[in-house]
Amino acid sequence: MCDTCGCNITSGNAHLVTNDGKLAQTPDGKSAVFVLKSLLTENDYQAIHNREHFDKNAVLAINLMSSPGSGKTALLEATIEALGDEFSIAVIEGDLETENDADRIRAKGVPAVQISTGSACHLDAYMVHDAVHKLDLETLDIVFIENVGNLVCPASFDLGQHRNVTLLSVTEGDDKPAKYPVIFRAADVVLQTKSDLLEVLDDFNPAKAEQCLRNLASEAPMLPLSARRNIEIDAWLTWLRDEVATQAERVAKHEVTKPAIQPDGAALHLAEKGQSA
């Protein structure tokens, strides 16, 4: 996504800029310029800036995405209960309206900043930046960004997070990854939430849900758990501890990480990785 070094020119689009050079005339004599700029660039720059804030303070930033009501806040409550003594945690809450979720988090003794998006269906890097400045990052180990409940738009906006976590509750149907490929493809880990309800929901097949995820070429682990009943959350806590440790190692080595999949073309992503390596 860099227009200076040309790393945004890939095998799929190179013909546009190599055939007639950078400038070309159209048949009716008008000037045309071929640019190949990734859209959302402004947001992406802000996201890079946010990531620098997190890295400077050795904070791990996790973006939680899912449908409304799949248990993002309940997961955070259970996570804070389990790891609150081990790590210093803060939460950025995105909702259209109300402070309800932030209040639930604060009741657990953890700082929470509520972003009320009005009618916007996703968080962007600017909103997260404002929220980040209301947190004392120096004292924190993990910042969870609870995105607006929506399986569509949040997938398109980089917020500066290091990892994406996508929740799939068993009440939603096991073919959700096939229906919403963009958001599930972006997940570094998929949590199958409300798994205690599986015994009464005979139409959700965990193996089929995982197959739908693999069909998206995703190697992300799929972890079943129930946050409310505190069942099987250990695998999630282990994943999180590993990520905190890895983030600390990266920060010590001045390395930067992003979620495995960025909504920007795999070739672009590879070019960027090559550049930062």
């Binding site: 945004n8 095998s11 799929g12 689009n13 546009l16 159209t26 008008k30 000037s31 045309a32 310029v33 071929f34 640019v35 190949l36 700029k37 990734s38 859209l39 959302l40 660039t41 402004e42 947001n43 916007a120 269906c121 996703h122 962007d124 569509v152 738009c153 997938a155 398109s156 906006f157 990854p177 096939a178 229906k179 490929p181 963009v182 958001i183 493809r185 739908c212 693999r214 069909n215 998206l216 070429a217 995703s218 190697e219 909504p263 920007d264 073309g265 795999a266 070739a267 672009l268």
Partner: protein
Amino acid sequence: MHELAICQALIGQVEQITLDNNAEKVTRIVVKIGPLSGAEAPLIERAYPMAAAGTIAENSLLVLETMPIRVRCKSCLAETEASANRLLCGECGDFHTELISGDEMLLAAIEFDKAN
């Protein structure tokens, strides 16, 4: 429905490039969009005139080119076409693939009337 935000970012870039090229008016812009980009072409088309209104790109023509979904297999190295929710290798069926096209959202070209 974040297509309006995308169009506003698009117009911002178009304005800057137009300025850089000493042009006065944008007549046509080309955007390449993949099905896995997370944005819907028909919604972009509807949002675009609203974002362009009152700018240098007002009344310009927006051309959307859809990019194919293609994957490269990490096992057999074949490059094949795929669909949005089935990104498996078309040769050997493995799911260990990487996307080489289909999730981009690129401003590809701008056409304008140049100032004298």
